[in-house]
Symmetry: C2
Subunit: 106 residues, 2 copies
């Protein structure tokens, strides 16, 4: 019943949202700036941002009439953690990964 894990997986399931995450990895952006880069309305982008926020993948800061959207990289931790269960199926080089993630997880 880990809703954090579920919300993060759900947020990453949509290609537009993954693109947003990649864009925010380069620089923080307002909704308007993000909308300029997509062929959809501001309202649609806003909905995606809400899902990303629910998934813990971004944070939003109000600045005047603007809203600054920033990547929250640690929001991906639940996803990586879930995936790390399967490390044993890959080769030994990947075993290090699991330990690294677990060490990073709080």
């Amino acid at each position: 019943m880990n809703t954090q894990t579920q919300n993060a997986f759900r947020a990453l399931a949509d290609p537009t949202r993954r693109d947003i995450v990649l864009m925010l990895a380069s620089e923080e952006m307002t909704i308007g700036q993000l909308t300029d880069r997509f062929d959809m309305t501001r309202a649609a982008v806003k909905k995606h941002l809400t899902v990303l926020s629910d998934g813990g993948l971004i944070t939003v800061e109000a600045r005047g009439r603007e809203r600054i959207n920033r990547l929250e990289p640690m929001g991906m931790a639940p996803v990586l953690d879930w995936l790390s269960y399967f490390d044993r199926f890959w080769d030994d080089r990947l075993a290090n990964l699991k330990k690294a993630i677990e060490g990073n997880q709080k």
Copy 2:
């Protein structure tokens, strides 16, 4: 446009499907065996298995009238690969992970 990445993310977005993946990590199972472990019809489980198969996360082998469903761990590689882009946001221990995955990706 990477449909493999999209299909894998989509497949993992549903909690029932993630549970199936975990179950198949322990042992291969027929649809009937999987259905016994869920509170839903065989048809519903079958639909989830189709999505998982589309995502490259399982393989199905016909054996008589049964269908053996097996985990395909490398199906998660596109997901891990996408996520590895964000390694730079975590601490240095995670840098190893990225290299490991990339080495594994052929």
